[in-house]
Amino acid sequence: MFEAIDLKFKNILDIERVSMVDPIVCLIGPSGCGKSTLLRMLNKMEQPDSGAVYYNQTDVSVIAAVELRREVTMLPQTPIIYEGTVRDNLVAGLKLQHRELPDDNKLQEVLDIMYLKLNLDGDTSRLSGGEKQRISLGRVILLDSPVYLLDEPSAALDPANEKRIMDSIVSWIHENNKQLIMVTHAVELAEEYAQQLISMDGGKII
């Protein structure tokens, strides 16, 4: 659960108060309205000029950044693919956190959630934008974090895949008692999934 109070950042963000308590929270608004910046502040990728962000009633400024990011995992808008195979990419987050790596059954399960039919030992250099996006999503799902911050998770997906993959992610979030805070341009999608819809414009909550 997050709460932001009197949050100001350059001329990008000016938020009086906002709470995000529901399992699925969607941030919507026009491009450049500060949605992604707000998301980045929730896991300390940006530092506000003034004001505070609270995570489970604790000011995030007193939580070590790495510790916070291991609970609150963020996925940026542009999918990032690391050097190596599909498997290397799926387990990249776990490796970076020095955690035990899962067996192939678990990895296959994640590929299924993402509707990906790929060889775990396959090369990643020729994947489409949508496949890269889905591998990136699979990578964060494997981290099993309590909170997920997804920035336009369906931006690189074609319309046919967008709905079923979002359905799949949202079901997984509910089944596993996680919280998902998501920036999206797709208002219909946000209205369908979100228990809490936050509209932004000009850096403010409207």
Binding site: E46, V66, R69, M74, P76
Partner: protein, 266 residues
């Protein structure tokens, strides 16, 4: 071995015919480099002449403080040269670290080679200490410049990748591990490549110089092998110290990346 054949000023001046040939070529091809070629030729001549006289003075008056001053001058010029050849804005802390790594890595390796391996007494014997240190410092300078360029370039071009790793809960050290390894590899590769070709493709300058001055080739070769190993040691020490400590300066509070900026004139 034969005595060395002295090169008279008249003989030396004939060698400048190569500069004239180069000037004719660039003029013919319309490549605007005449001024730089002339400046480079004059600077090389004047600098080496002055160095020759200065070394003659130091060799005739060996003392620990004169050798130390000479080493400090060489290291200071090398450090300034690194700053100049990196096209990115470096923070004050980074500049101090670069200088410390260059001074520390080069001096430890040079003194280890001169005092422990070759066993020169006294340690400040300028005939050995200065040319050997010069080679080690020169190679460290090139290595650290390559490492810096690679590291700054990667922090600039792979920002999204590093941020993604941070978002996945990586520590800055883990997020930058591949960049450090690549910069280390980039810095060391030219030295390793030159070692591969040494003795077949190239006869190194130090060895050639010793042979020309009458040293037995077998002795010259032993020196060359030793100095190459010392250069590799110096490079490894300088570069790894700099990279591990220097990576911190790319992060600010809260494990967030700082912006990498290019110099205005690059």
């Amino acid at each position: 071995m034969n005595d060395v054949i002295d090169l008279s000023l008249v003989q030396l001046s004939i060698a400048y015919i190569f500069v004239i040939i180069l000037l004719l070529i660039v003029r013919w091809r319309g490549i605007k480099r005449e001024k730089l070629i002339l400046i480079a030729s004059v600077r090389m001549t004047v600098q080496l002449m002055l160095m020759g006289w200065w070394l003659l003075y130091i060799f005739e008056n060996p003392s620990w403080w004169l050798s130390s001053i000479m080493l400090m001058i060489m290291l200071s010029f090398a450090t300034a040269n690194v700053y100049k050849r990196v096209p990115y804005m470096m923070s004050g802390k980074m500049k101090i670290l670069v200088a410390s790594a260059l001074f520390g890595g080069s001096l430890v390796s040079a003194l280890l080679f001169v005092v422990i391996i070759v066993g020169i007494r006294p340690w400040y014997n300028p005939q050995y200490l200065i040319p050997i240190s010069g080679m080690i410092i020169g190679n460290s300078m090139t290595g650290i410049t390559l490492a810096l360029n690679r590291l700054y370039g990667d922090f600039s071009s792979k920002r999204d990748l590093i941020e993604n790793s941070l978002m996945l809960g990586a520590t800055p050290r883990d997020a930058t591990r591949p960049l450090i390894n690549q910069a280390f590899d980039t810095a060391l590769l030219p030295t390793i490549n030159s070692m591969v070709g040494m003795g077949i493709i190239s006869l190194p300058g130090m060895m050639t110089g010793q042979i020309l001055s009458g040293t037995l080739p077998t002795t010259a070769i032993r020196y060359q092998i030793g100095i190459m190993l010392a250069i590799m040691g110096s490079l490894s020490l300088t570069i790894i110290t700099f990279l591990i400590l220097g990576c911190r300066f790319f992060f600010q509070d809260g494990a967030r990346l700082v912006d990498v900026k290019k110099k205005a004139n690059s």
